[in-house]
């Protein structure tokens, strides 16, 4: 197999000293328990493919696609190795060598056809303001929720302007389809109305991805906007007086490095956060990232179930989060507990408090 994408990361693979610190928190390793499931195992497999010690087998391909890109390994790494970038590179080489997964292909085809992961015609709620707001596929599909979130911005003095969106291309990049990603990037750029101006992004995953892969674009996370503006509107807040436990989405806590702001926001609206056993930069992943929901739904849900159990332990009224994918995965698993804990988006609570 040609490894031209992986080759670019050879220095990082040599820098890895295989200390194993990365599998301390790896959600896949913690669930499966074989070293081949952890980040170190995936790096060693990648190195084996690069050196031609290994050829791709169904097993090796499966292992390399069983990663949620939670980035906890990066936090623990003793040598600053960029594990998700290496996994992306090896997935690209595998994809280009013909190791396709039908479920992945179907997902990417949907995006090519419709511009979103649902293969539906999705339009945002109509807001004709000044400041561009990108909702992202998952929120576009929840039109009423999106309207509420845009209303929050309006109430805080922003004049949102929505536009016909197309996917930022994250699924292509994560699943190794480099050419598809390149084409989707062009479409995405073309969809942004005022490309030189800052725009607000409501989706956790999109904003992290855009900041990383489109460094020229000025995407601002909706939470930053709200946190900046809310102090001026404190008198409009109706305290909710509830107890919540906040699940840090990987792309927020470890991607954007945002730990305190969501907690501050929750406190401001009267939603007292009670921490789970892991939180902040050490928060466990819900299993929804890295394409795992498509690659192995069962495994993804096992990880979400663990997180829901941690949330139940806090005895909070709600399990809240910011990422729509986390929300979906956690909600599906929380449903097993007959309403003992409900999963909600922090933005829903903010909307309620400002209502």
């Amino acid at each position: 197999m040609e490894t031209k994408n992986l080759k670019k990361w050879e220095e990082d693979l040599n820098r890895c000293i295989r200390c194993g610190y990365c599998f301390e928190a790896c959600p896949i390793f913690k669930d499966q328990g074989w070293e081949v499931d952890g980040a170190r195992g995936k790096l060693i497999l990648s190195y084996g493919l690069l050196n031609k010690d290994l050829e791709p087998s169904d097993f090796i391909v499966q292992k390399l696609f069983e990663c949620t890109f939670c980035k906890d390994c990066v936090e623990r790494c003793s040598a600053n190795v960029s594990v998700p970038d290496i996994i992306s590179a090896v997935r690209t080489d595998l994809y280009e060598a013909g190791f396709h997964n039908d479920a992945h292909d179907q997902l990417l085809e949907k995006i090519k056809e419709s511009g979103n992961i649902f293969n539906k015609e999705l339009s945002p709620p109509h807001f004709k303001g000044e400041k561009g707001v990108l909702l992202g596929c998952r929120l576009l599909e929840r039109k009423e929720d999106s309207r509420k979130y845009l209303d929050i911005l309006e109430k805080l003095g922003v004049k949102p302007k929505t536009f016909e969106e197309t996917c930022c291309g994250m699924p292509f990049a994560v699943l190794g389809n480099k050419k598809g990603f390149s084409k989707q990037q062009d479409k995405f750029r073309a969809s942004i109305p005022d490309i030189n101006n800052e725009f607000i992004c409501a989706c956790t995953t999109c904003v992290f991805f855009i900041q990383k892969k489109y460094p020229d674009l000025k995407a601002k996370y909706i939470i930053n906007e709200i946190v900046e503006r809310l102090p001026k509107y404190k008198n409009k807040i109706k305290k909710l007086n509830i107890k919540v436990t906040y699940h840090d989405p990987c792309n927020v806590a470890r991607g954007l490095g945002m730990i305190d702001e969501p907690r501050w926001l929750l406190n401001e609206i009267g939603a007292e956060p009670i921490e789970m056993s892991t939180y902040g930069k050490e928060a466990e992943c819900c299993g929804g990232g890295g394409g795992l929901l498509v690659t192995d739904k069962k495994l993804s849900e096992q990880l979400a179930l663990k997180r829901v159990k941690q949330a139940l332990h806090t005895k909070a009224d709600y399990l809240v989060t910011l990422c729509p994918t986390c929300e979906l995965n956690l909600r599906n698993m929380a449903a097993q507990y007959d309403g003992k804990i409900q999963v909600r988006n922090v933005l829903d609570l903010v909307a309620e408090a400002l209502n």
Partner: protein, 476 residues
């Protein structure tokens, strides 16, 4: 590859706990050393009875068995140089008993050091070995390598915390070694024999460990020095003064430069930094120790001395040392940070000379080396930074390692203070222990006549560590 009957192993541990695919064997073929080799099968037992059955089978077929914890060892102890079965013990992770009355705990071999300490903390006690890898290191692996760490200067190495253990011997028999008491004079200290045996004499499946009270007060100080000699003299003075540091760490200028260059830490541009800590249950006692060490630093021209009891401030003061390893890994483009002659110990009075010699040898052999470590226990770390893809660099590294160990021997030091021997340090170890190698071989033969337990390591390892196995790097 039909040397292992996996069906037999599956009958013992279940199908889900046996693998022989190339991907898995490749991953389990390396640890944190420079070596790699392929096992034939990887097995995950969950009970000591299962371990016994596996060992009985392996012994009857003369199949090598390599015990493995988290594979964080740096000398190749867990690398299956002769193939065989890798015994992944991480599923044996139960904390069986925390006995506060008698002051010990019983744990399975796969318990992670930090997990044990999390369980002990509510009881106000801790297991003090604290190797840097405590977040992943298993107790079994720590015992098998006689690990130590930053606080060993006060609390000792693993050998000082082990009361006893259960071990599966090469014939599959389970034996109980040591006792539950603080002292024991009942014959050969067989538990001590197992400490540091690197899986060559038996498979440690359970351990009985001492713990100590969590100190109420902890104070960390930092002192800068304009010469390595002055820092070295300070170490020797502190250790001969009767002071009781709970940590005494040195960073040389290579280490300081690495941290500043790659982590933007803003450490002072000095020849050496010394970190000293005292802990205890009574503040006045800690104050006394800190003042004593501070005075010794000042007497030896230490300057910029700071110290603090506050946790946040202590974290800041220690940040440079904490970030050293990632910093070394990023020190120079294309360079890898290798653990070779990495954990020797020398008498306190020889530490400065040792550090100077390390710099001299590095320069001579065109590699980058640093001198840092737990100088309070005489241990010095010397990561070799080099382009590990270049054959010439391995030649240089080999010469550097040889010269370092010759000097360690001259200084009356030892090959390994905390990482163990495995493959990388076997040549130096054989020289250091030449008087007792035959005893070791006799013990090994008596306990493991078929040589199934981690064969080809320590005294039986190849004389050339560079060619002992395939190197884990793609060397051109």
């Amino acid at each position: 590859m039909a040397k292992v009957d996996n069906k037999k192993l599956e009958k013992i541990v279940g199908k889900d706990n046996v693998r022989d695919d190339l991907g898995t064997r490749y991953v389990y073929g390396s640890d944190s050393s420079v070596h790699e080799a392929l096992a034939w099968s990887v097995v995950r037992p969950e009970t000591k009875e299962q371990v016994q059955k596996i060992i009985r089978y392996a012994n009857s077929e003369k199949i090598p068995v390599i015990a493995r914890g988290s594979g964080s060892g740096m000398s190749g102890q867990a690398v299956p140089i002769k193939g065989g079965i890798v015994l992944d013990l991480k599923k044996m992770n139960k904390i069986i008993d925390i006995n506060l009355e008698d002051g010990y705990c019983r744990v399975e071999a796969g318990v992670i050091d930090d997990d044990l300490n999390r369980a002990l903390k509510p009881h106000g006690v801790f297991y003090p070995v604290a190797p840097a890898s405590s977040r992943v290191a298993t107790i079994g692996g720590e015992i098998a390598n006689n690990a130590s760490g930053v606080r060993s200067v006060k609390y000792g190495a693993v050998r000082d915390s082990v009361l006893g253990m259960e071990v599966v011997m090469a014939n599959g028999k389970l034996v109980h070694l040591g006792s539950r008491t603080r002292v024991e004079a009942a014959g050969y200290q067989m538990d001590r024999l197992m400490v540091g045996s690197e899986g060559t004499l038996g498979i440690i499946v359970e351990a009985m460990l001492k713990f100590v009270p969590i100190p109420k007060y902890r104070c960390l100080g930092v002192s800068n020095f304009n010469s390595l000699e002055e820092a070295g003299d300070t170490i020797a003075s502190i250790m001969s003064s009767g002071a009781q540091p709970s940590l005494l760490e040195l960073m040389d200028n290579v280490a300081i430069t690495a941290v500043n260059k790659t982590m933007d830490m803003g450490l002072p541009d000095v020849e050496a930094i010394l970190m000293f800590e005292a802990d205890g249950m009574v503040k006045e006692a800690v104050d006394f120790e800190i003042e004593k060490m501070k005075k010794i630093c000042e007497d030896n021209k230490g300057f910029g001395i700071e110290y603090s009891y506050e946790a946040d401030k202590r974290t800041k003061l220690f940040a440079g040392r904490k970030k050293l390893f990632p910093a070394l890994s990023k020190y120079k483009d294309l360079y890898s940070c290798t653990s070779l002659a990495d954990d020797m110990a020398v008498p306190y009075s020889k530490m400065t000379k040792m550090a100077r010699k390390i710099h001299e040898i590095a320069k001579k052999n065109n590699v980058i080396m640093t001198a840092y470590g737990h100088c309070g226990s005489g241990c010095m770390h010397t990561k070799i930074l080099m382009d590990a893809t270049k054959g010439k660099q391995w030649y240089n590294a080999k010469n550097a390692v040889k010269e370092i160990y010759e000097y360690v021997s001259e200084m009356g030091g030892t090959t390994s203070a905390e990482h163990g021997i495995g493959l990388s340090k076997a040549p130096a170890f054989k020289l250091e222990k030449k008087d007792s190698l035959q005893f070791m071989k006799a013990i090994k033969h008596a306990l493991d006549p078929n040589n199934i337990l981690n064969p080809g390591k320590m005294m039986d390892a190849p004389d050339d560590w560079v060619t002992a196995t395939k190197l884990r790097y793609n060397v051109n």
